[in-house]
């Protein structure tokens, strides 16, 4: 018979709400749960579809083809000689990573209310697993980007900055943190106001057009619009990403720093509001 080892675990619950409490140790104890949540996202997404996992490739590919037709061939937006399909594939890969991180996390509380209401586990595991599955999705899309990239590099039409590839993980970390930050802020507010949950997908779409996704930043003429787009915290990471992969991108260091500052502020604020909401949201949802 095993000795009762309960004395090692001590939980103290008070009514006081700490403003900032990031219990990473506890989240780490539940790492297996994060893995399972991530797996489940993929396992369930393509259940009862004929094409199954093929959709992971097909979906972004069709989107990119559509962008190529609309923005490349009809609107004739320049891409610095980078083949349109490659430009849009890589842009949509990085944007999908961000938008998935925001949109999925925006539903954290409302869509998990039944589980959250019955059992305790660190709630942060859910947003983390959402970002992880978005990252895996990004990785899969990058395989496709890679195939086109190899083809065009051999053709000599594209010359990536290979050294900057080392920066890609850093870019991903930044976008992941920012996406999760915005997502959990929205999800914390949706526990009270459901309207935000509806607005978020529209907002993210609007945001995409304010970010150089379907066009490069260099195509925008100087003026208020360009200033707004440059200040947008997603602009610099996206441009940096394309600078690495496609060899073209406008990088303004001061705005990159600003983007990181925004990321950190959003993440801290997000975790703060998430902490406050997670303790008692079951009473209001």
């Amino acid at each position: 018979m095993s000795e009762i080892s309960g004395r090692h675990y001590h939980t103290h619950i008070t009514s006081q709400k700490k403003w900032f409490e990031l219990n990473l140790k506890e989240v780490w104890q539940y790492r297996d749960l994060i893995v399972l949540f991530t797996k489940r996202t993929f396992a369930l997404r393509y259940k009862q579809t004929i094409l199954g996992p093929v959709w992971i490739f097909l979906n972004p590919f069709l989107t990119s083809v559509m962008y190529t037709l609309v923005f490349g061939n009809i609107a004739k937006i320049g891409t610095h000689g980078v083949p349109h399909i490659l430009f849009y594939l890589s842009s949509s890969a990085i944007w999908t990573f961000f938008s998935d991180s925001v949109i999925r996390n925006a539903q954290t509380f409302t869509s998990n209310a039944n589980v959250f209401g019955k059992v305790y586990f660190p709630r942060l595991t859910v947003p983390i697993s959402n970002v992880l599955s978005a990252a895996i999705q990004f990785g899969i899309q990058m395989i496709m980007v890679g195939m086109f990239l190899v083809y065009y590099v051999i053709q000599g039409t594209v010359s990536p900055n290979w050294m900057c590839f080392l920066l890609i993980p850093l870019i991903l970390i930044q976008i992941g943190i920012m996406g999760m930050g915005f997502g959990i802020i929205v999800s914390s507010l949706t526990t009270k106001y459901r309207d935000l949950g509806i607005l978020v997908s529209f907002g993210v779409q609007l945001w995409m057009y304010g970010t150089p996704i379907v066009y490069p930043l260099s195509e925008i003429s100087e003026g208020l619009l360009k200033t707004i787009i440059t200040i947008n915290p997603m602009t610099m990471p996206v441009e940096l990403f394309r600078y690495a992969v496609l060899g073209h991108g406008t990088i303004l260091p001061q705005y990159l720093v600003l983007s990181w500052i925004v990321t950190i502020v959003v993440a801290l604020f997000g975790i703060m509001i998430f902490n406050r909401v997670e303790k008692t949201f079951m009473d209001t949802i």
Binding site: G6, T11, S15, V35, L36, A43, N114, Y120, T280, T284
Partner: protein
């Protein structure tokens, strides 16, 4: 055994939980803005509920009010109380689903809360996948689950279907699997909310045996909430009785159950307004509705042993009703059925008429104690089938006084039930 040797598992000090009543925030931003705009223009709030002059703002409910409680390791603590007494809130606080409004809670040990079986189960995933998922949600690591997988599957009795999606399971199989996962957790403290009512009789027995094993042999601490007094008796070593958010009793199991049973029925009332009480499964606009019941010539709803219980019942008919009849179901304080009396005479009421009836019930043999009554108004049609028209739970409640030695023996309700039948006739046989 002195208290010093016992290790504290859970300690609550001055714990309060307050809930806001009424709509919180209005649900959508639009409603909040609407209300705000209406107030500015001095108009009526469009989100006010009809029949309510004001929105329930600022009204609060103390679900738990100043709870002090210490639970030691190895105890099986039963939590009992009427609906709304704060039992579930207490469990929610301990399982950290929500936080207290005031006070402090210390928990020494890992907690498994089973407020529901099968939390996180997903129909599309197989039994095995769900064991991993559910186990991880309850705090087990993958390695721990792997080590216990075989035990869990064996206990669940669904081995053949373990790699089938659980959406194809019967509801019995589903709960068996879910219970098995929770029962194999390594935590020191288990919190359960009536989850034992799962599966068939044989499985329920197995669950109880497992729980008993967990608490008495493995020395785990159990907190168990139930309305079922017999399971509480079976494996709790101590009970607390909650009433309106406070602990009104803490101690011996049988004594606690007694306290709960007595406090749950109010006998100061002799007149009962039934006009707003409805049964969910029946039409809210019944053909005829029981409006009021009143014990005749009584100051308190207390009757002597064997006394005839007379009450006046008013019924209003919305449509002409000619084949009405009445049913009088007696429930003991713990909610269990005692017996039922029928009025087999039919009576009729004209359309729109409010008619009064005198109903008499012969309480012969009903043992001293508190009882509540479910009144059922039903219609017997010309083909001889019965249809309920209006059924009211706890329509009346009353107490039967001590028999003052009339029975001639100290009656043990626990074993003998609530009714003393006519005496047995025993005589020596002639052959």
């Amino acid at each position: 055994m002195s208290d010093n040797n016992k290790q504290i598992a859970i300690r609550l000090s001055g714990v309060k939980k307050m809930y806001k009543l009424g709509q919180i925030g209005g649900g959508t931003l639009q409603n909040d803005l609407q209300s705000w705009w209406a107030r500015i223009r001095g108009k009526e709030d469009p989100n006010t509920k009809i029949g309510q002059s004001q929105r329930l703002v600022g009204q609060t409910l103390m679900a738990l009010n100043d709870i002090d409680l210490t639970v030691y390791h190895g105890e099986a603590l039963g939590v009992i109380g009427a609906n709304g007494a704060g039992k579930s809130t207490l469990l929610k606080l301990l399982s950290r689903v929500t936080a207290p409004s005031d006070g402090e809670i210390d928990i020494y040990g890992r907690v498994t809360s089973m407020l529901e079986v099968g939390t996180g189960f997903n129909g599309e995933m197989t039994g095995r996948e769900n064991i991993y998922m559910n186990g991880a949600i309850l705090g087990m690591s993958k390695a721990e689950i792997d080590a216990k997988m075989e035990d869990i599957i064996d206990f669940s009795e669904v081995r053949e279907f373990i790699d089938t999606p659980v959406k194809r399971y019967s509801s019995g199989m589903y709960v068996k699997l879910a219970f098995s996962v929770a029962a194999h957790l390594d935590s020191e403290i288990m919190i359960m909310d009536e989850v034992l009512a799962v599966g068939d009789m044989a499985f329920q027995k197995k669950c109880l045996a497992k729980m008993d094993d967990v608490s008495s042999r493995q020395g785990k601490t159990i907190l168990y909430v139930s309305h079922n007094m017999s399971t509480i008796r079976q494996f709790c070593t101590r009970v607390i009785v909650l009433k309106e958010g406070r602990i009104i009793f803490d101690g011996d199991v049988n004594e606690g159950i007694g306290v709960y049973m007595t406090q749950s029925i109010d006998t100061s009332q002799v007149e009962f307004d039934l006009s707003n009480k409805y049964q969910k499964y029946l039409s809210p606009y019944p053909k005829a509705k029981m409006m009021k019941a009143r014990f005749i010539n009584k100051e308190y709803a207390v009757f002597d042993y064997q006394e005839q219980i007379n009450f006046e019942l008013q019924i209003r008919a919305r449509m002409p009703a000619n084949w009405l009849s009445l049913r009088f179901e007696i429930r003991a304080a713990d909610g269990s059925s005692v017996g039922t009396s029928f009025a087999f005479d039919r009576f009729s009421i004209e359309e729109g008429e409010l008619k009064s009836f005198i109903v008499s019930f012969n309480s012969k043999g009903l043992i001293a104690g508190k009882y509540s009554v479910v009144l059922g108004l039903f219609e017997k049609n010309e083909f001889g089938s019965y249809t309920d028209i209006d059924v009211i739970e706890r329509a009346l409640s009353f107490e039967i006084k001590d028999d003052d030695g009339q029975i001639g023996i100290q009656w043990s309700k626990q074993y003998w039930g609530f009714v003393k039948f006519d005496d047995l006739h025993v005589e020596s046989s002639r052959n």
